[in-house]
Symmetry: C2
Subunit: 322 residues, 2 copies
Amino acid sequence: MTDLQNTFSTPNIDVECREVGLRDGLQILQTIFPTDEKLAWIQAEVACGMPEVEVCSFVPPKLLPQFADAADVVEGALKTSGTLISALTPNLRGAQTGFKLGIQKLNYVTSVSVSHNQSNVRRTPDESVADFETIVAERNELPEDQRPILAVGLATTFGCTIEGRVDPKAALELGEKFIKAGVDELVVADTVGYGNPAEVKAVMSEFVQEFGSQVPIANHFHDTRGLGMANVFAALEAGIRRFDASLAGLGGCPYAPNASGNIVMDDLVFLLEGAGLRTGVDLDQLVAIREIVARNLPDEPLYGMYAKAGAPKGFRTASQAA
Amino acid sequence: MTDLQNTFSTPNIDVECREVGLRDGLQILQTIFPTDEKLAWIQAEVACGMPEVEVCSFVPPKLLPQFADAADVVEGALKTSGTLISALTPNLRGAQTGFKLGIQKLNYVTSVSVSHNQSNVRRTPDESVADFETIVAERNELPEDQRPILAVGLATTFGCTIEGRVDPKAALELGEKFIKAGVDELVVADTVGYGNPAEVKAVMSEFVQEFGSQVPIANHFHDTRGLGMANVFAALEAGIRRFDASLAGLGGCPYAPNASGNIVMDDLVFLLEGAGLRTGVDLDQLVAIREIVARNLPDEPLYGMYAKAGAPKGFRTASQAA
């Protein structure tokens, strides 16, 4: 593991957690989460010490009505401080929206699976790389203090609902293209919860070996088949120190009824802090945020074992023990 | 890892799974599972290739009415073949019941936490070791072909609801005493779901290093705080190749409402087979057994992500790929 993997926007932490519930969690839901309640959620995340919050996706409201309030949400979120405010963009147009709003980080996404990328953004992965090169060029024309960090998510690295198994070599090759294009961070994603910890450890070790000295590498896991936390531990073993997750595991999979979505942020922080890795996140405050989600989405299942069972007797987080 | 960790009762497997749902899953439930339905469950486990099924606990019916039919269940289970039929016993009297019934394996339990052992069986751990020595002696007086395997579960190794954190050294010391007493297998248990994968890997590596050349070592994990599968992967990394689990994660924790109990057998088999480790268990057949549990316990929550989401597209188990 290189030092670069241990360099974070927040001081005194060992692992960086990033809340994606407001984006990946909300995007498939029919219920529109009110703008002021999104802002209450974001403010609570900032208050509990979350290093990054992905607050929306820059897509046409016709496609995802949940993000019709993206401009208001980003504007409100940017009034907070201490937490990186990011947004997802599938293309140049979304990135341009982000530039205008002064977003601090953009998470661009491309699927390793050609079929999945075609289905998702109607482009080949190479066309997505070309699109990203334009985003980098336009970002670099902004005044230096207004340039957002540009991350790229390599979706379906561990499998895809259309193609099934995906060759990890394709993910590594695509990662290299994005590094040449000037990406600031790679986010290796198990988009549909196909990943197995043995494969995760092997593939992420290759990512760290190949690119670890050039960019920070993160993981984005889904818990669709129950292996999310095992995949986190496998990635930790490979040297990964940045993880996406969603409060209460919000965001089921639209293709698998009753199947859960993102890994649960509360359980992730419990795993990391219990392993002696400081996250900078106050676990009690984090768990309390579930109430904001619950009151706005009374019919959605909230996941997370830690919140239900409570802390082990005498449990001290790594931060408390430090 | 020693060869002993890869020596199983079932041929051509890489990891041995043991179904404990009929014992650990049922023991805290008020609803009595009918005897013939227990036998249907056991037969289905045998049919799907499960290497060991723990079918009951030998305790007075007054304490656990769920096991009042232990004799009938063991007798029925022993008519099957290909699967090791085991039972839990907390003491010599239970072991003697097992001897009479011709049980094939006895799982004796002692808590590493002194307070937990006192509360559970009203003895110090050392008194439990002495009790176990008598069990070994009586077992050795049986005709050679009637001697059950004697395993010992080291409960609360990773923490305890009374004492909180438990010193792993105490677990290692207790394990050594049981090895001197003649135990055939050690089962290191996270009884209340306090374990963290970083600690599991460290502690289980010590167990394998200290005792791996003398006895097989197994793990018994609970998923109470969501880290069960991560703990399995951590234990695999330490060289452990035997795991207890419960179909559909049956068996909540009586002290933590809504908290789950044992790790989910279906998710465990999915993890192992996906990691290229043959279990000998037919995953489709295993998932189908959930129906037997559901029809007898309509009000109990059934856990397990794999069963809800289904197999990844094109997924092949290690056995299918072999």
